[in-house]
Symmetry: D3
Subunit: 277 residues, 6 copies
């Protein structure tokens, strides 16, 4: 599922504004307006495509005379030199749109590609990879869609989605009191409890939590907690998980592993726009 069109339109309008105002593209102004061209999006590495809707929106907003034909969609795998799509129309408009379109594709495909790495690292274990709220300001909707394109799943969309009781929310009340308060105040919502220790897991379970988040535990500690939970509610693991350690956590029985790096530290995936000669 692509990100909501409303979010895409808004992100693209801002990205173009910051790249062309107030004078427009000085360099592209050197190209006569009648020169037309075709250019192909080509991947420079191995990864997962994301951001197609955003790139298309860039061209649509720059010049209604530009047409894009896509060969692939978000979630598709690319290898070096894979042709992703072709844009045709006035050369000066292609040049003006190029960097903004590539920035979106590169960033979002970077997110999807890193997500796919984590998903593959836990393949066969039944564990699922989640994102977090550690997203780039302004790009929440697009990055969360890119995580889905990479095979991951979305944790909370934002603070208004469901309840996650952390240590700092307790403020003098017990986990049990907090969970009961949350369920009373926000019925029909997931109430998840962040736990640092086994006894907190037990307390959360007893209070009727909908899930527990095991924060910064070792795989062994996770396994102990998973045993305590006994499949009654989902167990999420978070905190400092890397590509090297993620499978150990999956092996410990976590239902979900959430990874902030998916959106906060994904390197751009290299995609170019090659003019057809």
């Amino acid at each position: 599922m692509h990100p909501p069109l409303a979010a895409v339109r808004d992100v693209v309008a801002r990205a173009l504004a910051e790249d062309v105002l107030p004078l427009g593209d000085l360099s592209a102004s050197l190209v006569p307006a009648h020169v037309r061209a075709r250019a192909c999006f080509v991947s420079r590495g191995e990864g997962v495509l994301a951001g197609r809707l955003s790139a298309a929106e860039v061209f649509a907003q720059v010049d209604g005379d530009l047409k894009v034909d896509w060969h692939l969609d978000d979630g598709d795998t690319v290898t070096p030199r894979t042709a992703i799509g072709v844009v045709g129309g006035p050369l000066c408009s292609i040049l003006t749109a190029e960097r903004t379109a590539l920035n979106l594709l590169a960033h979002l495909s970077g997110v999807a590609t890193l997500t796919r790495s984590y998903v593959r690292a836990v393949a066969g274990t039944g564990t699922r990879i989640l994102d977090t709220r550690k997203t780039t300001p302004g790009l929440r909707a697009l990055e969360k869609a890119a995580v889905r394109a990479g095979g991951g799943h979305n944790h909370r969309g934002n603070l208004a989605d469901f309840v996650l009781v952390k240590d700092n929310h307790l403020a003098g009340v017990s986990i049990g009191e907090a969970v009961r308060g949350a369920r009373a105040k926000w019925p029909m919502r997931m109430v998840e409890v962040e736990c640092d220790r086994l006894d907190q897991v037990s307390e959360a379970l007893a209070a009727g939590a909908g899930a527990v988040l095991l924060d910064n535990m070792t795989p062994d500690a996770v396994a102990t907690c998973v045993a305590e939970v006994g499949g009654r509610i989902p167990v999420e693991v978070s905190g400092g998980v890397t590509l090297h350690t993620v499978r150990a956590y999956a092996g410990a029985g976590a239902d979900f592993i959430s990874v902030g790096a998916l959106t906060a530290s994904a390197p751009a995936f290299d995609i170019g726009l090659d003019l057809e000669s």
Copy 2:
């Protein structure tokens, strides 16, 4: 120099909107409104701070009753457990603002920290590190300020700043014709020419270019071009430069080395917000 306040306000307003609408912070609603607290921004690694103005704006927009005292400013170096600043006020407001403030600090400090690494790698050579237009959509102003905080310099702010003639802009005219056209159309602006070969450098020089950008050359080829230019105009190197190769390019005599990764692939710098007990 901090980023323009107008940009900061806008980015923060959007970041908060995407994190709290439509229902607000469900979890923070469990904390009684009268509970007050203090929390300290603490670095978890070694790096360079950036984004202070943005983080301050987050707290200001969430609750006018929150006060922040900063111990450090953008560009300052931090090591693990450095206290960066303290925020005090209603606990529920601190919790609501926490993630957005941290996302901005972590991303922008990540950019500053990576920039500093490149700057240090060329220390003593006189070469300067530049950013590019490969910025995160919507964050151009903030990321370019973070590059400055890291000791780098800003290449074009956007397409309206100055002229960069690339191969694709030629469209049947020679480099010389393009440069003369650019200087006629956009007087008082830098006209830089991207060159892939030595003869293009000579042509650009002859046409009165203000700078040349050597794209994807080896350090040896760069050295040859630098000799050809002979100090008459600045020489910029770009394309696939890494922390491992950057010093070789500096040694080849480049005045500037521009690095897209500074803004496109900087991992988040880990900063936490620790509640004071």
Copy 3:
């Protein structure tokens, strides 16, 4: 006359944003993208249609592939099971747009329907029904168009339209002084005076007011004031008028009766969107 397109576009963009951000329509994501459908807007009661332009804009903004054919226009009467229009296209897009389109149609048709009730209650008397500035924040333009669709007329569009001197505006000056001041300051504008007593009506008349607004009077008191005015300027009645009392006020000779409830208290008119099987 439909509401200004500029207002409609803005209202719809905000309504969609608040319903789908940041993750989009989770439920509609379960429907395969290739499934297409047709659905019919059907009234569930007796009333007056309003909001067609807004509903159409919802579909246009959600998915350019959706097409709507309308059988009726704003101001048309509907009875239970009247087919209002048909939308066709991707089922998932229809489902995402459905609630926002219906919310607009239901609210605005509710305003039109209540307006029509008041208009009918005074039928044959020559009295006209006006709205007020008691509109829903953000929906002024759309609700005032719905009042017109219901056969009512628009009082002031906003505070910048014309002058309405109320008791609180006097601040130590007489009605006469206030009216003369208003006519001097805002020539070519209507200057209406709110009156609670007969002597104020006389004073307003003498001062050259363009209309009087009789606030919270009985029908008898209105009749006395109407006689005093003697047709020289329009007489408006306002304040606590209900469907039960409106005809008595019309019978007392009021030229206009303004009713805040038209926009502030109109219940939603029930309209459904039935999928064609």
Copy 4:
């Protein structure tokens, strides 16, 4: 919990813009700028207050020189002539702000008051009253906060919160397949299933739905479904419930009753702003 400040600021800015642009308040311009006054918000009926934060924001945006002191907060009960709060400052600014502040208070208190009526109608049964997505376009965040002020609870904030599988989402798959698909795609989210018949309830239960929504059933049919569910998951009732029938549905054992009218058809609650003499 008040609505998010970000939403309030935005709604108020738009409401003021539509009431004063382009020329400002013509009538208030007749009042000399130096005249100062105090005015008191006074209820005209029995109800529940909501919208305090919005009204305060109106005054703040109109004139920083206005000060408001509140005697009551959202959720407090008012009776005729209850003093709610006092605003003081330049009279012309009070007059300009008055209608927008009152429109927000009246509409949101209307929502809270109607909600309280439903909550009281089911008092003692353990059933809770929920709102729906039938909110006024642009006011989702404020109306959902008003429902909470009235003692109700919030169903989905929007389409991105959790999954509600309706008949139209099935598109050729069974309820069981749809639920399993939803749980696979959106783990950690509530998956609720709308049911028209008892066998659908059984199917939803078997598929692991998190809740069932019984649509347009009689209280007797609800009781049968409640018995079938046997307390394993929450049961929500929706569709045409009125103040007259709501207690019968509560008596039938529904955990939740959702009422679109709370936000779609709440009449404005009458509040005035009385100038102190």
Copy 5:
């Protein structure tokens, strides 16, 4: 009366954004942040001040640490070297704000000054000077306030204010039919009729028009029409009136003369910002 604050805030935010994004003020970055200064707005010619609220807003948005003290207000007369106000605070912020503040003051004072010239040209005749809708896109509210500062009055704020029937609106109906239609559709609004000939004036009068606009007539023709109207409704003159001809039109008995040049062709009034040494 100053323009609405909502309009001022919006105009200033956009003006600053277009002047500082994305990199901020490069030149001001050379000034150390701790250097403080005071600077005085000084007029360079004879005219009328307007735009004080806008200039103040510029400083407020650039840096909350800047303070402005005004010696004069909108509508006050200035001569060469009149001190208008003083701003104090960080020098770099004063320099960044300077041009935007001056652009607003110069443009709006230019409008006020030109208006004052027309007002003086008709002094003693009782004729009043009106603006038109020929305003600069985006500055309607500010320019119309500047006209008032210059002693002029505001014609329609926009198309939604009142009815002006021009030749093009007739579309096959007579003036009489059009006026009656307008009064039926938009009661309580001024209905003005544009007339090119005396017989049209008579027709408009007979139909109950609220005012006539005599378009592009000679002063003699205006006098004839004024005699025909006989004081029953206001007479407005428009079309090609200049400072040289305006008094002749006033002498012909026009109640109002509307002048598009007030807002469309007012030269900037020269105001400087002098740093105190």
Copy 6:
């Protein structure tokens, strides 16, 4: 080169909003919706066209059913009664769009026409005419494009483009120090120095300035400075240059003459929209 589409869309949306909200075009509502018409943009004087893209956008935003055919483009010369373009479609939509489209065309063509006058006044001298940052707030992008249409060139787009060191930026440092600081901080940017005296020109030259701006000098003083510079860097003249004096400055050898009046004081160019009968 037309202005950036992003800027045009934004300016037009605001211009329309301020002209039609909240009630729409009352007068155009008198025209039956089915009446169609064609109207021709006709110049009323001699000048240069600019603003075509903006005018077209007005019609597109008012009604998608309007079509415009242009006979001329920005930069083309017009004489009295030149047909510029034709718009066809619903008459009521043409009337609603008319004033906003004309305001943009008239203002921007006014800028282009005044620019052309200055350009012609220096014809044959090799001197080029530049604009300044004295633009109308909100219209920077459109006005700078109009200057280009008139044959002028753009000085800085905004404060973020390049460095202009004025007296006020020195704050205790010498011109030499300031230039070196600027070149160190903002490499690859033009660093221009404003000079009031010959010795400052020498100092700027010695420090490596990229250009000098001679402020408020006589043509003789300019000639002296030009001789001192000796062609090494461009010389710009600014300050109080008029159509009467501009050629003298050009004759003194200035490379560029910047004229604030181009955008700050250009009278509207008269263009009408004539309905075809």
